[in-house]
Symmetry: C2
DNA sequence: ATATTTTTTTTGACTTGTCTAAAAATAATA
DNA sequence: TATTATTTTTAGACAAGTCAAAAAAAATAT
C-alpha cells in the first residue's frame, strides 16, 4: 500500500508532535506544524483513520497506529539518509539540505533507500546529529544532554542540535561549532544563563541561554 | 515558476512525441503515452496552453513553446543524471532504474541537479546511451545507426538502445551486449532480416530483426 | 459530394486536498 | 454551576486531475 505525499507529511507531523509532547497530537498542533488550517487537518485525520494509520477520537487528539508508526519511521529514515548524501557526497552544508530532503523522502521503493544506506556506509546519524533508524525501524540511542545543563568544569563534544533553522546552523558555523567539536564550560553567568566555554585551539566563546538550550553534547567524564 | 508533476509529465510526453514524429503531438498520441484518456489530455492541454507552455490549436495538435521546451529538457536532464547515479553509484542495473528516475526527476532545485552532475563527473550519456543535456539545455550529438542498417563486414560499437523495456535490456545482458561492446556483421539473412554477428572473444550471435532495429551502434571505418 | 469512420472536445461527475465561515463540543473561569 | 473562551468539527465551496459518455470536427471512403 502506498500513500500520498500529503498523507505521509501528516504522519510525520503526528509522529514528531506525539514524541515531543509525550501524548496524543491535537488538531491545532498538527495544523500549526503543517502550516494549514484545523479544518483541513480534521478532514485528513478522518482519511488517515479510515486507512487505519492513526487512532482518532473526535475532540481527543490522535496517535499513530502500528502501521502509521512504520510509515513515519521509514520517512524519517529516508529523509536523514538523503541528508547524509547531500552533505557527504554532494558537498552541501548542513543548513542547505532540509528542503531537498523533504522532497527526496517521498521517493518510493525500498531497494533505493537500502542501496543508498549501503552506499553511504550505513550511517547512524544525519548531518545534524539526529539518529537514522535502520531498515527494521530500530533507533540508535546515544547519551546526550543540552549544553545548558552542564556545570562549570564539565567537558563535552557537540553531538546535535535541537533547533534546525538555517539561522542557528549558520551561527554555529561562524562560531566553529560543528558536530564533534569539543567544549569545556569555563564559567556560568546566572544573570542571563549564558556560558563561557573553551573550545578547540583554546578559543573562548560566550554562548547565550538560547544557544545552550539548542545544542546537544555528549559529556566526557574527566 | 513551478509546475505540478502531472504538468511536467505531459510536457515530457509532448517533447518525446514531437521529436519522434517530427510534427505536432496529437491528443490521442499523448493519451496513449501517458496511459490516460483523450478527455483528460484535452483538459490538460487547455491548462498548459494558459500557462504558455505549449502552442495549442483545437483539433490541430500541440507543440512545446520555448518555456515548455526548457522545462522538458530540464526534466530529461534530471532523469538521466539520476539514472547515472543509480547505476554508477548505487549499483543498480540499467533495467532497474527507470521507475526511480521517474520520481527523482520531479525533485525541484537547480543546485541539486547541478551538484549531482558534478559529483557524477558531468556525464554526457546515461546508462542506456541516451544523451544528457547540459545546464544550458545543449545536447551532445554522436553519430550512430541502427544495427539493422549495417552491411556484411561492417564493424561497430554498441552505443545505445531504442527500446528501453526491461525485457530487451535483460536480453542484451544475457547476450553480453552491454554499451561499448564491439560487433562485426558476419552474415545477413534476407529471409527474416536477422544478422549473424561476431562480438568480443570471437563469440558469434544471431540477432533477430527486432533486436537489430532496437540497437544503436557507432560504425567503425575499417 | 455524401456517408462513414476516426479523432477530438465537451459535459457532467468523482477524488484529493485545500479553504472560510459557522456550529458544536470541550475546557477554563467566574 | 453557569458563563465564557478555546478547540474542534461540520458545511459548503473551490482547484487540480481524473474518467465515461455524448457531441462535434476532421479525415476517409464510397
Amino acid at each position: 500500500m502506498t500513500h500520498s505525499q500529503a498523507e505521509e507529511n501528516y504522519l510525520k507531523a503526528i509522529f514528531s508532535i506525539s514524541e515531543k509532547e509525550g501524548k496524543a497530537a491535537s488538531t491545532n498542533a498538527i495544523a500549526a506544524m503543517m502550516q494549514t488550517t484545523a479544518a483541513s487537518v480534521t478532514d485528513m485525520l478522518r482519511r488517515l483513520s479510515e486507512k487505519n494509520l492513526i487512532a482518532y477520537e473526535k475532540y481527543r487528539g490522535v496517535t499513530l497506529s502500528e502501521s502509521g508508526h512504520k510509515v513515519a519511521t521509514a520517512l524519517i529514515r529516508k529523509h536523514r539518509l538523503w541528508e547524509v548524501f547531500l552533505v557527504d557526497k554532494l558537498g552541501f552544508t548542513w543548513d542547505e539540505v532540509h528542503e531537498f530532503a523533504e522532497q527526496l523522502e517521498h521517493v518510493q521503493g525500498d531497494a533505493l533507500v537500502n542501496r543508498l544506506d549501503q552506499f553511504l556506509g550505513n550511517p547512524k546519524f544525519d548531518p545534524h546529529g539526529d539518529p537514522i533508524p535502520d531498515a527494521q525501524g530500530r533507533w540508535t540511542h546515544r547519551p546526550q544532554a543540552l549544553l545548558s545543563t552542564l556545570q562549570t568544569g564539565d567537558r563535552g563534544v557537540v553531538t546535535g542540535v535541537e533547533d534546525h533553522t538555517t539561522a542557528f546552523l549558520q551561527y554555529l558555523d561562524q562560531q566553529g561549532l560543528a558536530l564533534g567539536a569539543s567544549l569545556e564550560v569555563i564559567e556560568r553567568f546566572p544573570y542571563d544563563h549564558s556560558l563561557r566555554v573553551r573550545t578547540h585551539g583554546d578559543r573562548e566563546l560566550v554562548l547565550s541561554e538560547k544557544v545552550c538550550q539548542n545544542l546537544y553534547v555528549r559529556t566526557l567524564n574527566t
